[in-house]
């Protein structure tokens, strides 16, 4: 079945990995064994493959022995494949004429029994050599791309991305669902931790004043940014580099063509009505911290007094309850921490304490989380002002004739709490913005376990392959500064891509064989990337035309679902051909 007819010239290079491999395996006998395998013309060993010397040795081995493919027996391809591949290219081989037998991570390290590990290594090597014999050179490519970007969401993150992209010479379409730019930050009259506002190094970059106002103007006045307010993405198609987006605007539907996309749709607050024990929506004086924000803002131009919703009385006892709907294990809220709520609630508590030094302000928390520089000072200042921090869960906000009662515990004293309260403020957590799931389907991008858009990750290049990057709270809760930094990083990545004017087309992708394809469209229905389109070809035998599957090379993410689904075995992954898997299995068993 191994039909290579001696064509292949395989070199097997053992990397002893500074003794890691030789310590747990009988390398001598393995080398002897490999020498006897089909197509193997060279068996070598190097001390360290992953440095310059090692790669030079590999290059030399390839040249001296006229190798046309290489098996490296050493570490995991997940990390080292790219690097070793480059050495192949330097030696004039195709980067894909490489197979790695992962003897370190998946044989030596998890198996202490030297004899049995050596036995397993033989099988792994046999499979690797067999697969190597079946390898074929693969070629990627490049296709032209539009120098234009679509930015969804006009909060701090979306605006920053739009500015950076446009400054680099790209056309930008900024689509904002609301009637105005600014997003969540616009709703917050103060943000934290803003401590020691001086531009000489103490500035923490969190202030709405510095961060937001100039940005809105920067966006509105930019010659290359087109702002679509009150608008939403309707449809999205095409391929990476040449996408078509249909935008629903107040005046109708507009179609734009873009090369890349930034997702900056932010988050929304968990609805506290899902957690009935806090009495939100039942008791008027139970509010969220955004409601309180609105109350504070409303009070500023008036008498500067905070009036509680039920009777307009100025509250004298105020209870903040943290982690409402966050870090929830009951399934009614979200499991994650929403990151900004502790910071923000402390900020609001300070504002109230400043206005009403006699008021009693309590913050009920599980543990305080403020993963930001400046948070520590922010918190200490609050404590020094006399704000009471109580550790423990609040079990219920009850009400009787005299008003609200906060029932909970104070873990530090072990006491049960019953606090008669004038105003209860819920620090509600964040979840994915409404419409996130629908967007993920329209754009065919994945969500993470918490329902947010998945962040770019160098180990998982799916999103980079699509030129679609999620930034700011669309990728999970984070503060203003980090949302802005995200946007800058994403814009830099996309700018680099668009500046080149070309999209890389991966070499590892599905390929359809027109002859074998019956046109059943099974592949089209399972492809998660929408990479398969049916096209008409002439059928010479029957003198007519017929439909066959065609893979859009720049869009395929090489998942192999089509190959799996195709009843005619007409579509295959270029790097996981049936014959390669077959050879591996036969060698193993």
């Amino acid at each position: 079945m191994r039909a290579t007819e001696g064509r292949a010239r395989t070199g097997v290079l053992f990397c002893s990995c500074r003794g890691e491999l030789s310590s747990g395996l009988d390398l001598g006998s393995l080398k002897e064994y490999v020498r006897g395998l089909p197509d193997v013309v060279l068996v070598g060993e190097t001390a360290v493959l992953c440095d310059q010397n090692g790669q030079e040795e590999l290059r030399k081995a390839i040249a001296d022995n006229r190798l046309d493919r290489v098996v490296v027996a050493g570490c995991t391809p997940r990390v080292y494949e790219e690097m070793v591949g480059r050495a192949l290219v330097a030696a004039g081989l195709n980067r894909y004429m490489l197979e790695m037998a992962n003897l370190r991570e998946q044989c030596v390290w998890p198996h202490r029994d030297r004899k049995r590990a050596t036995g397993k290594a033989r099988l792994m090597l046999a499979a690797a050599v067999a697969r190597a014999s079946m390898l074929e050179p693969l070629h990627g490519g490049r296709i032209g791309m539009k120098r234009a970007a679509l930015v969804l969401g006009g909060g701090v993150a979306g605006m920053q991305a739009a500015i950076d992209l446009a400054d680099d010479g790209n056309e930008v379409h900024l689509v904002e669902r609301d009637g105005q730019l600014g997003g969540r930050t616009w709703q917050l009259s103060t943000t934290f931790p803003t401590h020691e506002c001086k531009p000489d190094g103490c500035c923490m970059h969190y202030c709405r004043e510095c961060i937001l106002v100039p940005k809105v103007e920067g966006v509105m006045q930019h010659p290359r940014i087109r702002v679509h307010l009150g608008s939403e993405l309707l449809e999205f198609g095409g391929v990476f580099g040449n996408y078509t987006a249909r935008i629903k605007e107040p005046g109708g539907i507009k179609e734009v063509e873009v090369g890349t996309v930034v997702l900056a749709t932010g988050s929304r607050l968990v609805d506290p009505a899902n957690l009935p024990e806090f009495g939100y929506g039942v008791h008027k004086d139970v509010v969220t911290f955004l409601d309180l924000e609105r109350m504070i803002v409303a009070s500023r131009p008036g008498d500067h007094e905070l009036h509680r919703p039920s009777d307009g009385k100025v509250p004298k006892v105020i209870d903040f309850i943290q982690c409402v709907g966050s870090r929830d294990e009951t399934g009614r809220g979200k499991a994650h921490c929403s990151l900004v709520c502790c910071t923000y609630a402390i900020g609001q508590a300070k504002e109230l304490k400043r206005r009403y030094p006699d008021a009693q302000v309590f913050i009920h928390y599980i543990d305080l989380r403020g993963p930001y520089r400046g948070f520590e000072e922010h918190y200490r200042e609050a404590r020094d002002m006399g704000i009471h921090f109580l550790r423990g869960r609040v079990s219920e906000v009850a009400a009787d004739r005299d008003g609200l009662v906060v029932v909970g515990e104070d873990i530090d004293t072990g006491k049960l709490l019953r606090i008669r309260s004038d105003l209860v403020v819920l620090s509600t957590g964040q979840e994915a913005a409404p419409g996130t799931e629908a967007l993920s389907q329209v754009l065919r991008v994945p969500l993470d376990g918490d329902g947010f858009f998945r962040e770019l990750n160098p180990a998982f290049d799916l999103l980079e392959r699509k030129g679609i990057i999620a930034v700011g709270c669309a990728a999970g809760p984070r503060g203003i500064r980090y949302s802005v930094q995200d946007a800058k990083a994403a814009a830099a990545t996309l700018n680099g891509l668009m500046r080149s004017g070309e999209v890389p087309v991966p070499a590892e992708r599905a390929e359809a064989d027109e002859q074998r394809c019956s046109g059943c469209r099974q592949c089209e229905s399972v492809c998660p990337a929408g990479a398969i389109v049916m096209k008409k070809v002439a059928d010479r035998r029957r003198g007519a035309t017929r439909w066959v599957a065609h893979v859009n090379p720049s869009q395929c993410v090489s998942c192999g679902a089509c190959a799996m689904a195709c009843p005619s075995k007409a579509i295959l992954l270029s790097n996981h051909k049936m014959k390669q898997l077959w050879a591996q299995i036969e060698a193993l068993t």
């Binding site: 390290w109 998942c559 679902a561 068993t589």
Partner: protein, 140 residues
């Protein structure tokens, strides 16, 4: 059945279980060397023919390892794999194979320990079941 060492072929998703297996190694979690990995792009790319082929060729057990539900790098490959495996198990049963010889498990890139435990359990189960006679029965 003393001394019988089963042979397990594993089709491991590149993004999760294969990386989880790497992590098991990096963390030096030990598991029996009865398991031999084959890296695939996604559990949804594992053709039932590969599984049948491995079993006919003499594997005593086959493990398909993919990402946790909701975590597939390609969104739904693992759901496809699960659906297919259910049908495949029924078929294999009809062909006379004990369905306990095919395991489908979701193991993420961070679950090195779970990977090691899974392989250990599977090996023990196969030791109990004894050698597969599928190869002799279906040798053509």
């Amino acid at each position: 059945m003393t001394g019988f060492e089963p042979k397990i072929v594993g089709f491991l998703c590149n993004w999760c279980t294969y990386t989880g297996a790497d992590l098991a190694g990096v963390s030096r979690f030990q598991y029996p060397p009865n398991f031999i990995p084959i890296r695939v792009m996604c559990s949804g790319a594992v053709d039932p023919m590969y599984v049948v082929k491995a079993l006919v060729e003499g594997a005593d057990g086959v493990l398909i390892g993919g990402c946790n539900p909701g975590d597939c790098h390609y969104q739904s490959g693992n759901y496809k794999a699960r659906r297919r495996a259910t049908i495949l198990k029924q078929l294999l049963k009809d062909l006379g194979l004990d369905e306990r010889r095919l395991w489908v498990r979701w193991i993420s890139a961070s679950e090195g320990k779970k990977f090691a435990e899974t392989v250990t359990e599977f090996t023990e189960e196969l030791r109990r079941l004894g050698p597969s006679r599928f190869r002799e029965e279906w040798a053509l």
